[in-house]
């Protein structure tokens, strides 16, 4: 099976034709996301997002994800971070969902982080046979096996057009050999569209994705820890939705991404796309007011500087950062809950909860790929 996983990683990592004479990993960006994708649908800002339709999967695009994270705390004050991710990857253009030969592969990652430990799980699946998928009717759900994200609705009730967004009340579940969680994510705030009404630029050369979030979840639920102990937890959650056919430029090796939940109520999303020979990596982000109004950030407004590195899985990873948004009076230092939050999955990366102090305090999640 290990072989299979490796080959799947190869699929995901090298999906398009390799560039002659070049090292794929370098020329195609992290996980092949910088590869050429002419035959797939392209992100077109002239076709604005429509909801709830765009909550569904977009199989005509090469890659898509559902990405939930939460900072949680139990009654003793112990802190936890959880991650739940569903990836859809098209193996060939013009694929349709649901058939065994629909040309789609699904991959899910889950993670649980404490100050001392980090556990993860990974699964693969196909929508043929009903093992994995995303549906909007009769109620919203995204799943791979029993790892699921489901809309919560009173039994028998219909979702009226005027009702809140289907993503406003979700149940998030995962169960692995090590740990399990069953959480309810709830908010009455609207979705937040990043970039230009959801059109999120990823480089100066035109790479982009559709990208929106729900950053205001209140989370309640239960964790089952590896020792079998069940703990009741609560905290803040964040859901990202993103799809594209070529989200990275070929030179971009990976990214450093933050979701920040400020104690004062604001939310901030920041990311930096690292390039080979360029210290001035592409940066972008969104300042989200307490009321949920989004202000896109230009690269010039953002300063992200690593302050502390750690050795994890044989790599040097910057786990401490100084983040500055001078225009918004933000100047903070972030520290990981657990510097060893390494997702040792077929495509490995660092993903874990952080907390910060400085001009503001609060918690968030940091994701770093391509190290």
């Amino acid at each position: 099976m290990r072989l299979l996983l490796i080959s799947l990683a190869l699929i995901l990592a090298a999906c398009s034709d390799p560039t002659p004479g070049g090292d794929d990993a370098v020329t195609q960006g992290f996980a092949g996301l910088g590869g050429d994708a002419d035959e797939f649908a392209q992100v077109d800002p002239s076709q604005p997002l429509q909801f709830p339709e765009d909550h569904a999967a977009h199989p005509e695009y090469r890659i898509e994800w559902w990405y939930a994270t939460a900072n949680l705390q139990d009654q003793q004050g112990r802190r936890y971070g959880i991650q739940w991710t569903l990836f859809r990857q098209a193996l060939e253009p013009e694929a349709q969902l649901g058939d065994w030969q629909d040309g789609q592969v699904w991959m899910a990652h889950v993670g649980l982080t404490t100050a001392e430990d980090h556990w993860q799980g990974e699964r693969f699946g196909r929508s043929g046979g009903g093992q994995a998928g995303v549906v909007t009717e009769p109620f919203y759900q995204a799943w791979l096996d029993d790892w699921s994200l489901k809309e919560v609705r009173a039994p028998g009730s219909e979702r009226s057009p005027s009702a809140l967004d289907p993503l406003s009340h979700l149940r998030l579940q995962a169960d692995t050999d090590d740990f399990a969680y069953d959480l309810v994510l709830q908010t009455d705030q609207s979705l937040v569209l990043h970039g230009d009404d959801g059109f999120s630029r990823k480089s100066e050369r035109g790479q982009a994705s559709w990208y929106y979030s729900q950053p205001f979840y209140q989370v309640n639920g239960r964790l089952t820890l590896p020792d079998g102990e069940q703990v009741t937890v609560r905290g803040d959650g964040w859901l990202d939705r993103e799809w594209s056919s070529q989200p990275l430029a070929p030179e971009q090796q990976g990214w450093d991404w933050f979701s920040l939940q400020l104690d004062s109520g604001e939310r901030v999303m920041l990311f930096r796309l690292r390039e080979d020979d360029d210290d001035e990596s592409f940066r972008a982000g969104t300042w989200i007011s307490v009321a949920g109004e989004a202000t896109p950030l230009t690269p010039q407004q953002i300063d992200m500087t690593p302050t502390e590195t750690t050795e994890v899985a044989g790599r040097t990873v910057p786990v401490g950062w100084r983040l500055r948004l001078p225009d918004f009076g933000l100047d903070i230092d972030t520290h990981p809950l657990n510097p060893q939050s390494w997702m040792d999955t077929s495509i490995p990366y660092w993903e874990g909860p952080v907390e910060f102090s400085g001009s503001h305090t609060g918690r968030g999640y940091l994701e770093m790929t391509g190290y």
Partner: protein, 832 residues
């Protein structure tokens, strides 16, 4: 002189012997060559078969993966798969079916299509690695137009090349072919989506595999699927190795016998060569060559010769295996349903082991000569003893060892159990008998000597006894080969008689119809009621479950006079059929008794959703079936069994109308050739399977006899060289050369005849061991032993003819040698 230079000289000197005695050298080489060929050929066959089982077993079951199957019918809905996955069950869908490909009109090529989902396949399954091993082409396997993974054998059978798209007989096109050696012969591996399309089973699967993790097996099934699914233990392929072990052990034993017979030749030739080179060795020593160098020289010579013979033997073994493989494959398929690839491919290990056997065998066979060379005093006279003229003490020792072996054989065969031990007993019996042969022959000759009249007759008997030691090895080989032939032939023919008689009983009904679904069974039932020719319809149901560690076939019948009249029972309790009809009693096959150790009067509890306790009411013969079997009431079986048993109908009708009815059934009910069949066809098919099973055995037997004949021939040929000094004095006293040649021939023939006479009782003993011990251990049934005097006569005739042929040339040469050579015997005293 440096050591290497001396050694080279010694080697040249030693090899000059073979140049002067090419026939002797040829005998040596051919002995080892034949021994290696037969042994390695048999090993190649075994390796081939095991490789095929391994591939079949490990496609899904690195360790016999359990699976979930439908309670009703053979298919389950894909929605049950997703329902389980969504509750966290790590199941993986499999869909299997048969596809036919055009080969000839009447006989299409049938292959099994296996559909899998590589993403969910349990880690133990090698099918996933097969997909993986086809050059990182997982994407191609999953997406249109897909890939069909096929074994090299099936690719050849399809007469296609990698990348081809081939069509089934109903014009469905397969995904492009890709070769993978880990796919079992006769199977095609595709993604489950393609399998559903090709088999017209959209949204359906046959079974759900689950990783071999006890925590899942112990967990209750989710309520929403529990009523439709049930557990099935790992597939039966895993049993294949165990079931066929005995078959392979039989082959191995025959191969080993042939090897030993071949070694006799080597031993004989080496011994002779040593005796003839005594003078040479003494001269070498006298010239200052150290004993060590002489020994190293002899050893090097031996190894070089063994290397040549071994390599040639391996090539011949490969040919033998290739020649026998189709028959062995057919036997295994007929007997056990095991599919064995009919293309040989051998790994380096086979070559190395074969070569090792050749070298080791040659060393073993030459050990005593080397030992003597090592102890030979430098100054001893280079007495050219008549070769192999052993002291009577040596003969006595040999006989004692033989007697000990015989005693051991009796002990093992009467008290031991287990197949390996049984074969050990058999080996001890044969070897012991062979070692005692010279003494027995000597006693016979002493008896003959008493009746000798006149000096020539006295001389004849004494000389024959004298010569015995020289011929004894060849005669021992002949004894072994003949005994094996009598024994194996007796067993096969006993088996054939019993089997045909048993078929008559077991196939009491005139025609048989089998349904593949309950709906079809109902249709057949309705149709049968409209057939005026049918006198009685005996419905049967059949299910395969596991009992203990073994698969168990349960046959359910509706009691009828036909069974009471014909069923081949060996033991029966009073009221057995009544209790069976009441659903409280069962008849079990002989194999059951053997496997599970319980018999008439004992109780058996079959577990399942509901326990079912049955009393064993009797035992019946079930030849040719490796699995234990049970006969119960059909209605009780249907009540107890949670799946859908296979349903069939045995029909009683006038025999002459059977084939018409079967043809009509095939036509009107669209049943396949195997689903509707008349008694004569079943019988024909069964007998054909039987015959093919023993083709390989018979061929090996004949080859062994041929090797023994060669052994006899070479012994005589080499002996004839040393005969002259013994015969010359008689010639000088007036006996003609022609007369002497006749006497020489008569002597050998006489010894061969005595050996044949001794071989027949030994062969019968062997047959008894095979039938009453080995067969019971290997297959679980015991056969009555029949005698076939005609067969013995034929064999004796064959043996005598080969002895005659072996004698003729040396004798003829003796008669034709010039008088000058006879005279020279007296000139060169002791020369040869």
């Amino acid at each position: 002189m440096p050591f290497i230079g001396t050694l080279g000289l010694v080697l040249v000197t030693l090899f000059s012997h073979w140049r002067r005695h090419p026939v002797q050298g040829l005998a040596w080489l051919s002995g080892l060559l034949l021994a290696t060929a037969l042994w390695s050929g048999v090993q190649a066959l075994n390796a081939q078969a095991r490789d095929s089982y391994d591939r079949a077993a490990s496609l899904f079951d690195g360790a016999a993966l359990p699976s979930l199957v439908a309670r009703e019918g053979s298919l389950l809905a894909q929605t049950d798969y997703s329902a389980l996955r969504r509750q966290g069950w790590p199941v993986s869908p499999v869909l299997e079916g048969r596809l036919e490909f055009p080969r000839t009109e009447a006989d299409p090529l049938r292959l099994t299509l296996v559909g899998i989902d590589p993403l969910t396949l349990p880690a133990e399954a090698t099918a996933g690695q097969a997909v993986d091993g086809t050059g990182s082409d997982l994407i191609a396997f999953l997406t249109n137009p897909g890939r069909t993974l096929v074994s090299p054998d099936s690719l050849r059978a399809l007469q296609a090349s990698p990348g081809d798209r081939i069509s089934t007989t109903d014009e469905q096109m397969l995904p492009p072919l890709a070769v993978n050696a880990s796919i079992p012969p006769g199977s095609l591996l595709v993604d489950i989506g393609f399998a559903q399309r090709l088999l017209s089973r959209e949204g359906q699967v046959n079974r759900l595999l689950i990783p071999d993790d006890p925590s899942w097996l112990d967990r209750p099934l989710p309520a929403n699927v529990a009523e439709r699914l049930r557990w099935q233990a790992g597939q039966s392929e895993e049993d294949l190795g165990r079931l066929t072990d005995s078959f392979h052990l039989n082959l191995t034993a025959l191969g080993l016998l042939a090897f030993v017979v071949g070694l006799f030749i080597v031993h004989g030739s080496t011994g002779l060569a040593f005796e003839q080179r005594r003078g040479l060795l003494r001269t070498l020593r006298a010239c200052g060559v150290s004993q060590r160098t002489v020994l190293v020289g002899l050893l090097t010579e031996l190894l070089l010769l063994a290397l040549v013979a071994g390599l040639l033997g391996l090539c011949l073994g490969y040919l033998v295996a290739g020649w026998l493989l189709p028959d062995v494959a057919a036997s295994l398929q007929g007997l056990y349903g095991a599919r064995v690839s009919d293309q040989l491919h051998l790994d380096p290990q086979w070559w190395l082991t074969g070569l090792g056997m050749a070298l080791g065998g040659a060393l073993l066979a030459s050990l005593s000569s080397l030992w003597q060379a090592a102890r030979m005093p430098v100054l001893a006279l280079a007495r050219s003893e008549a070769w192999g003229q052993r002291q009577s003490g040596q003969l006595r020792l040999q006989t004692r060892v033989g007697l000990v072996l015989l005693a051991g054989a009796v002990l093992i065969l009467t008290t031991g159990s287990g197949l390996v031990l049984a074969f050990a007993g058999l080996a001890a019996l044969l070897l012991g008998a062979a070692l005692c042969l010279p003494m027995v022959l000597s006693l016979c000759l002493r008896l003959g000597q008493r009746f000798a009249r006149g000096p020539l007759s006295e001389w004849f008997w004494a000389e024959t006894r004298q010569q015995l030691s020289g011929l004894s090895l060849a005669l021992m080989a002949l004894l072994l080969a003949l005994a094996a032939n009598v024994g194996v032939g007796g067993m096969v023919d006993s088996f054939r008689l019993t089997f045909t008689g048993w078929l008559d009983q077991r196939l009491a009904a005139e025609a048989y119809l089998n349904a593949d679904s309950p709906q079809q069974a109902e249709r057949i039932d309705n149709w049968l009621q409209q057939q005026p020719d049918v006198d009685a319809v005996l419905p049967t149901v059949q299910a395969t479950v596991r009992y203990g560690d073994w698969p168990l076939e349960i046959n359910g019948i509706r009691p009828h006079a036909t069974y009471e009249d014909y069923w081949p029972v060996l033991q029966l309790r009073p009221g057995a059929w009544f209790n069976l009809a009441a659903g409280q009693g069962a008849l079990v096959s002989e194999q059951w008794v053997r496997t599970h150790g319980s018999g008439p009067g004992d109780e058996v509890t079959l577990t399942g959703d509901r326990a079912w306790t049955l009393t064993i009411e009797g035992v019946y013969a079930d030849y040719g079936n490796p699995r234990p079997q049970m006969l119960v009431s059909g209605s009780a079986l249907s009540d107890w069994y949670t799946g859908t048993p296979r349903q069939g109908f045995s029909l009683r009708l006038p025999p002459e109308k059977a084939s018409d009815l079967v043809a009509k059934a095939r036509d009107e009910l669209s049943l396949s050739d195997f689903a509707a069949i008349d008694q004569a066809s079943v019988r024909g098919f069964s007998e054909q399977v039987f015959e093919r099973t023993f083709v390989a055995t018979g061929a090996l037997n004949t080859l062994t006899l041929a090797v023994a004949a060669i052994a006899l021939f070479t012994s005589l040929l080499t002996l004839s060289h040393s005969r002259l000094p013994q015969l010359a004095p008689l010639w000088a006293q007036g006996v003609t050369r022609r007369h002497l040649a006749w006497l020489e021939g008569a002597r050998t023939l006489g010894l061969a005849l005595l050996t044949v006479l001794l071989a027949i009782p030994l062969g019968l003993l062997l047959a008894w061991v095979l039938v009453a011990v080995i067969n019971v251990e290997a297959f679980g049934w015991r056969l009555p032993l029949y005698f076939f005097p005609l067969q013995w006569l034929t064999l004796a005739g064959l043996a005598l003819i080969s002895a005659l042929l072996a004698t003729a040339w040396p004798a003829w040469r003796l008669g034709r040698q010039s008088a000058g050579r006879w005279v020279r015997v007296f000139a060169t005293e002791g020369g040869h």
